[in-house]
Amino acid sequence: MATETKPAEKAATRVETESPASARPVRAARPLGLVALAVVLVVAFALPFFMSGFRLFQFTQVLIYAIALLGLNMLTGYNGQFSLGHGAFYGIGAYTTAIMIDRWSIGYGWTIIAAGIVCLIVGFLFGRPALRLEGLYLALATFSLALAVPQILKYFEHWTGGSQGIVLSKPKAPFGLRLTEDQWLYYLTLAVTVLLFLLAWNLLRGRVGRAIVAIRDNHIAAEAMGIDNSLYKSVVFGVSAAYTGIAGALSALAIAFVAPDSFNVFLSITLLTGIVIGGFATISGAIYGALFIQFVPNWAQDISKAAPWAIFGVFLIVFMYVMPRGIAGFLHLLWIRLTASAVSREQGR
């Protein structure tokens, strides 16, 4: 690790000595970003004290979506593999949890981990043959997976309860903590979210992350540099599915109910909308995207039952035209513009 960071450091110092003015905003961005992160974390931690019941549940759902979006973004944004079927993994995660709790009465904490592992394996196995599929064909295969999953879930009625689904009860706060069920679920989800975001950040910023991005940008060159394309691609598929599966497991706990038709193809499109709006290949984009897909449909619902989807569709198309890098990309650009103009003003003086 140490030998790897050195050239980067050298490059950084060189930039600084060559043009101190342009290096300043970069240095300023660091602490500012950390402050913003701290503020977000504090707000997220304090949220249950300000709201309760349904509102809080909505924010739990935002965190859950954020995990799923991060998973999808690793695959589609960073690694460049299409998935129009991540709703399937979300569903598999949710059902893993529901079946383990309802049929085998296993502690819910374990089921979240189990959901992650099951989806890791399923994702890896699906990613393995999908290696041979590029671009459109992968989109097709995953899209058909998304279409087929509700039917498969209904078919294994003995385990999944058919179209009736499975009703769960919300877990109570452990260790005698004086929290309501909603508050406990929120904190549990928050903890899992923070952990998974840290892991993803760690994974994506280092050598592995560069390899993942290199495969997206030019897989032949990446192969020539000694990156095992097929291994990386299928592992990324697995990890991405595991993230989405954990999100699904948490959603099963939060909603306390699973039914096959909630994991239809539109869920997959919702997740895709989330990363398009949030921003491809960004970590913070997962949060923006999650806020969008949780709250915009709620507001749109007041207009008509069908309105949320029409709005999603319009946003999908409009973002592709005007903001192909999503909200995160837009904010980044804005930041560069602002600091650049500050620098030029300074230089002008």
Binding site: F82, L140, F143, Q151, W309
Partner: protein, 293 residues
């Protein structure tokens, strides 16, 4: 044996629908290397328009022609307005745009016409056709007939008209075609228009069977994908043969493999897509494209 023949015929009938839709997909794919994920929803929407016209007491075949014409213009406009700006963007961008179209059509149809299923009339007599002991649904036979007529017209168009030739040229080699004076971009628009028209025909033929509702095309589009994959995305006649094969397979598997029945129909399509992609990704009739590094 009678049941077998009956199942094959009704498989051919549904296969005809898959074939039309698959052909629409392949036409767009050939011209632009894009799979239009909204193809099924566009077809569904056209069928709703036809339903509105029928409610206004227009005769069936006039409605039929009018719907096909509207779908053609609609498809052309969508290409010109929505797809054109991202024509040269990465595939992911275009896929996302077509997915956007998918949800827009689906929700607008639900918004205007509600999600309640509606019956859609069949232009063919309700009385079944009997040959010996075997009974065929008249609608099934009619469907096959319509599909064959459409295919014949399409074949004639591409084979014998200058415009058809220009469209084929534009799809095969855009740069040279442009040098020959073909307006390539408009040819793509025409391709979308034709594809939408096909979709409309498929929608109107399938609606009497599955009933009209905004989600009616979900499963059918999946089968059309399977058909296009089996036949090969780069081959129009492959799409037709693929459609018929898939339709017959679906029916026979549903009848004779007891644990599948109708409940796992979509899974059969998924399995077909994945198996074909694994074993022969170009499909039965597709060309292998060699890419230069």
């Amino acid at each position: 044996m009678d049941i077998f023949i009956q199942q094959v015929v009704s498989g051919l009938a549904t296969g005809g629908i898959y074939a039309s839709l698959a052909l629409a997909l392949v036409m767009i794919y050939q011209a632009t290397e894009v799979v239009n994920f909204a193809q099924g929803e566009m077809a569904m929407f056209s069928t709703y328009l036809a339903w509105s016209m029928l409610q206004a007491d227009l005769p069936y075949w006039i409605t039929f022609l009018a719907t096909v014409a509207i779908a053609f213009v609609g498809g052309l406009l969508i290409e010109r307005i929505v797809i054109r700006p991202v024509e040269n963007a990465p595939i992911l961008t275009i896929v996302i745009v077509t997915l956007g179209l998918l949800v827009i059509f689906n929700s607008v149809a639900g918004w205007i016409y509600s999600y309640i299923q509606k019956p859609f009339p069949s232009p063919f007599p309700a009385k079944p056709i009997r040959i010996g002991n075997i009974v065929f649904g008249a609608h099934d036979v009619g469907e096959i007939g319509v599909t064959l007529v459409v295919l014949a017209l399409l074949f004639a168009f591409f084979r014998f008209t200058t415009l058809g030739l220009a469209m084929r040229a534009a799809a095969q080699n855009p740069v040279s075609s442009r040098l020959c004076g073909i307006r390539v971009s408009w040819m793509l628009g025409l391709g979308w228009g034709l594809a939408a028209a096909f979709g409309a025909i498929a929608g109107m033929m399938v609606a009497p069977v599955v009933f009209l509702d905004p989600n009616m095309m979900g499963g059918i589009q999946l089968y059309a994908f399977a058909a296009a994959t089996v036949g090969g995305f780069s081959s129009p006649h492959g799409a037709v043969i693929g459609g018929l094969l898939v339709g017959v397979t679906e029916n026979l598997v549903g009848t004779y493999v007891s644990f599948i029945g109708t409940e796992l129909k979509l899974t059969v399509a998924l399995a077909m897509i994945i198996i074909v992609l694994l074993v022969k990704p170009t499909g039965l009739f597709g060309r292998t494209i060699v890419r230069r590094v």
